[in-house]
Amino acid sequence: MNVIAEPRPAVSTRPAPPAPYGMLAELTHRCPLQCPYCSNPVELDRRNVELDTETWLRVFSEAARLGVLQVHLSGGEPTARRDLEAMIRHCVEVGLYTNLITAGVGLTPERLAAISEAGIDHVQLSFQGADAAMTDHVSNFKGAHERKLAVAREVRRLGLPLTVNSVVHRANIEQIPAFIELALELGAKRIEIAHAQYYGWALRNRQALMPTREQVFRALDVVEEARVRLKGRLTIDAVVPDYYARYPKPCMNGWGRQSLNVTPSGKVLPCHAAETIPSLEFWNVREHSLQEIWVESPAFNAFRGTDWMPELCRSCERKEIDWGGCRCQAMAIAGDAAETDPACHKSPLHAHLLALAEEDSHSRVNGYDYRRYLTERDQ
């Protein structure tokens, strides 16, 4: 009998990865706004390919069983889904903490009350600008700002915790102090100031979005000063742009380590931009359980841990600090997702990345290629 001596398939000898903490559920790509840096892919999912309610409920149950603790209900605009309340109720039932990531436009007080009633734990509301002119311009939606203000007030009136989320770029980066004032005025306990990340739509708009080096460094000072001044009143989480930094950001805290992302049509991605890497094979919740996808799917294992790393990273003492940086940025700039992130000063392409950023930041292009469903004429 020599059956026992059979070598086992490589997949099962790999130690099971630790369970993920968070799941981003992109319920739909539909959204009334058109932000030019939208993190949705350039090829947006249409309504007819969206997962149905029943499938989403199963996915949430599987997520809870897998060890996910927090679910971020996002989009597009998640409130475009009529079954959002049913999903929230289900998440509460299976013990998941729910975070609504909304643009707020089109959200009536009645709907918000129903969402609160269903048991939402936290609301994150985006502001594209600190005033009406900027918000309406960046989101390409007249009256968006006013509607957001009304939603923010309603969120607080219902006693829900509020986070203001603002993506900053060349046109609005000088508004950071005003964004912080706005958050305080609205009674938010937290503000996220995130610099645009350049893949997908933002990559298409990089010339119009890229801030100058001076703007970025001034912004860092402003944020630091406000953090100290507002300690205990407002938490400021700032995502630093890594173009002008020495080290890359620890993207996703490591690929396939802490979180997963489900697209409207059911594909499961290690990060929301992962589809920009053409070589990856994503599995779909229609065919596999979340557990299977997390443990076995090729896309999750492609850059998990440190084995995949180029020598430069593998021999570096920061390899388990920043995990070699962002795979999508490596793809976008180096043309190879398995390269060191060019944002790292050790990367041979770092100077190239810096030159690109500097050049774009002084570009005279200020108009946006707004996010939308592309038609044949666009291709």
Binding site: Y21, L69, N99, D121, Q124, G159, L160, P161, G232
Partner: protein, 102 residues
Amino acid sequence: MTVIPATAVPRLVRGVRLRHDEARGQWVLLAPERVLNPDPVAVEILKKVDGTRSVEVIIDELVSAFTVDRERVASDVDAFLAGLKEKGLIETMPSPIGDAAS
């Protein structure tokens, strides 16, 4: 840090939840964009922060459950709750819910 009065009743604010995390075999405190891992002593206190028990009742119950020195427990609980309040994770009411009129 201001000490919370002994008769005040603390509770977790909306958006903060304590739950047992079966997958990892530990208790976690969930808050907006954060997962906190309270130590075993903190967990015992947090389980009693439910909007019905006052600070002194929490202390009394811990003292009798674990037969420990009251003064020690009181100072631990006071410091822990004051820290939570400063972080915005709990709020305090002058008396238990539904008891406000008394």
